[in-house]
Symmetry: C2
Subunit: 462 residues, 2 copies
């Protein structure tokens, strides 16, 4: 614990009443090299959706504020970032468990997605937003279909999102064009809470010409590209057999490593071939890891340590609820810490503080928002959560990082704030009516999961 | 889903008013071969601490009851069983993270335990009970010191427990004698909620003569023996190097496999040597698995599939909070499902229903209570929990087993009942004052964690 420094330019705190003032919490802050420290009895001052200062509670005595939150007994963290999900798939949570990935795709998900309706996307996305707000997620990177519908849900729920309209080469050039059209129309909307990207599905469903054209469009329009690659070792082996190149080598050849690129999963990296390729990337390349999904599919996990050694940030993710069953980024943080120790056979690797670094700065960088969110600091967007540590399962506190990563869980998030707006207060959601969503979704489900039509949006033979 | 059968002898339901009546829930029940099914719109009728019937809500219309609980939106499960923990170590939660097991023992836990006070044991145990009640645990098997103090906490908190006073051979025969004395004095106390066992620490701290004498005492007094064995592969290798026998072979030679035996961990089994030994055990032998602890120490996990193949039940556990950071048996269930898929490289192995089987019947059997708890059925003790599935993270429900194992979490337990007594209602603890425990514990902590005395209860060189 360190004494409370004044993180914001002091003058600004007294520039007039705050819009939101959180007092009495312990605040997680980052030092100049990203090192994590905890400021006790801290205050967070918010004005115009931005953090004005993280300072001591005593320093804001007498400051007027339109809205006040007593943060006693809580830790204030930067809101969590879900670096890779398919929010609307919350509607398919638990539909195909205990099956291998090829069966999951071919017998369940891709048949169902061939008849997906906008209404199902809307309700699934709304349910996902409710779950994420309750779990302390303030930003998510979504890669799916009917993204205008998802964007509308973002407008309404108040979350921040990085949205990309997915496409396959089987759609022809129209798929890529629609993804670009979406990205250009929607970027900066929802009061700036929506950023956008191009979203080719994966190197096994999008051909090299299409990927190269995507890289060119991304460069031209300054867009992030978000794609799946090397999801499993089997995909890498099949790619080598089919093309003589790994999925990562295909991305490189297409020019995608020269721009901003978010790679989902990368559990199937070929260390000898792929690490040198990623090391020489000239763009801002990052990986999103969703460890629960990998365990469920009995896949390897993302090689976090090898990626750190070559300077690639690894952000936390949940994938969609149809594979991951939760959109619980807190759980991803915990599982990343646990599983990395296990696979590296090193209990001292991936400490609590390292896990928190992945959950904050690295995740924000991964989705292209490294300058705007991911840290509680003056000038950043006011995306934060208050985590209640008064429960018996989080007491006593010998080491706060350990408590957060290994004892606390997403249900301990008491309050979730995006752009200074409270989306959940004391566990009460303020922008989503969950019972209504659940009721309407129940009516749609029989049609949604009916696979008698015999169609399939793709065939998985990666 | 199956139509609601009347599980209890129908006559009993109308024998007069119920003490407790839960209506409108979905109830998890077991068929004759232990197969799991879910009864919709179910009622659980409790009288004198025992389940009289699990039947349809309609069948109990008009039945008088001293206490009623509306179970709408919840699933009623048998209360969870924590098959191996050290409850008082909740006081040391998170004290030594990110370190290997030998450092954890030698530099932290065993120095601290050499100066343990009864007051610290009492407060730690009370905190642990609060956490477990909130997490849906109704029974735990505890293996620790100062167990009279833990027994007193059981009296007061209302939980069920299987208690054993731990001993090392370094204590001389007095250690074993004290364990026996405790077991005989305390068994059947707390209104029958306390059962007891003999608790030799492990084959690397209790010598063969001591173990053989323990086996003899267990036989003479009809007691379960609860011990650690083959906690890690390193222990097995060291045991082979030192004695020419694995820890399991040592247990066999001591005669412990001829009686009721609960083995904690067994992650370091030597498949070729130990599985045949366990297969020919004539006693009721079971294993407790605490997967979170193994991940943290970068150990292998319990070979659940191999144990199933030879008929050894595997119960769920958390170990103590000093290694595991939580006493969350729900998390152990989820992690067992996930990690077993991964280590067996089989996504179809350890299905949701299998995980629920471990959490119910197998866990109850593991702690020697297979006839009394672990299933919602007429004649069993009324130990049950109501799990709220209305949250966005548990909706929609396509497959209830998947929802319970992979989407729900311990914080969804709304109500916890032991022997028909409500210990938590709507998340409110009724038998533990958590703020008081936390406050008093905070005062003790500086002395508790001071290691300047230079003492150590044991040296870990297993």
């Amino acid at each position: 614990m360190t004494p409370p420094p004044a993180h914001g330019p002091a003058g600004l705190v007294t520039d007039g009443p705050a819009d939101l003032l959180v007092t009495g919490c312990t605040a997680l802050t980052h030092g100049p090299d990203g090192e994590i420290s905890f400021v006790e009895d801290a205050a967070v001052v918010v004005r115009d959706g931005v953090v004005v200062a993280v300072t001591g509670t005593a320093a804001v005595a007498g400051l007027a504020a339109a809205e006040r939150i007593d943060g006693s007994g809580t830790v204030a963290l930067p809101g969590l970032v879900n670096c890779h999900t398919h929010a609307p798939m919350a509607a398919l949570r638990g539909i195909a468990d205990d099956v291998p990935a090829d069966e999951w795709f071919n017998d369940w998900i891709w048949p169902i997605e061939s008849e997906l309706t906008e209404r199902a996307v809307e309700l699934g996305a709304r349910l996902a937003c409710a779950e994420m707000i309750r779990g302390g997620v303030t930003t998510f990177a979504d890669h799916y279909f009917a993204m205008d519908t998802v964007a509308a849900v973002i407008e309404e729920t108040g979350l921040r999102a990085v949205l990309g309209q997915a496409y396959f080469s089987s759609q022809g050039p129209e798929g890529r064009a629609a993804s670009l059209d979406f990205a250009l129309r929607r970027r900066g909307t929802a009061g700036g809470r929506i950023t956008t990207c191009l979203a080719p599905h994966a190197p096994y469903t999008v051909d090299e010409d299409d990927l190269a054209a995507t890289a060119e469009l991304a460069r031209e329009h300054g867009l992030l590209v978000h794609t799946h690659a090397a999801e499993s070792r089997a995909q890498t082996d099949n790619s080598l057999a089919r093309y003589g190149r790994t999925p990562i080598e295909i991305l490189e050849r297409a020019g995608l490593l020269e721009g901003d690129l978010l790679i989902a999963h990368a559990t199937g990296l070929d260390a000898a071939r792929d690490l040198p390729v990623l090391r020489r990337a000239t763009g801002r390349v990052a990986v999103a890891t969703a460890p629960r999904t990998y365990l469920k599919f009995a896949w390897d996990t993302t090689p976090v340590r090898a990626l750190r050694d070559i300077g690639i940030p690894v952000g936390l993710a949940t994938d969609g609820a149809a594979s991951n069953n939760t959109l619980d980024v807190w759980e991803s943080m915990t599982l990343t810490a646990l599983l990395q120790k296990y696979v590296e056979r090193d209990p001292a690797w991936l400490t609590g503080r390292q896990a928190l670094h992945h959950a904050t700065l690295q995740s924000a960088r991964a989705v292209g928002l490294g300058e705007r969110v991911g840290s509680l600091a003056a000038g950043r967007r006011a995306d934060l959560v208050l985590v209640d540590l008064t429960g018996p399962h989080t007491q006593p506190v010998h080491d706060l990082a350990a408590t957060l990563v290994h004892s606390a869980r997403s249900s301990d998030v008491r309050t979730t704030i995006v752009d200074g707006r409270v989306l959940m207060r004391d566990r009460q959601l303020l922008t989503v009516d969950v019972p209504a969503v659940v009721r309407e979704l129940a009516e749609l489900l029989p049609a949604l999961v009916d696979r008698n039509h015999g169609k399939r949006i793709q065939k998985y033979e990666a």
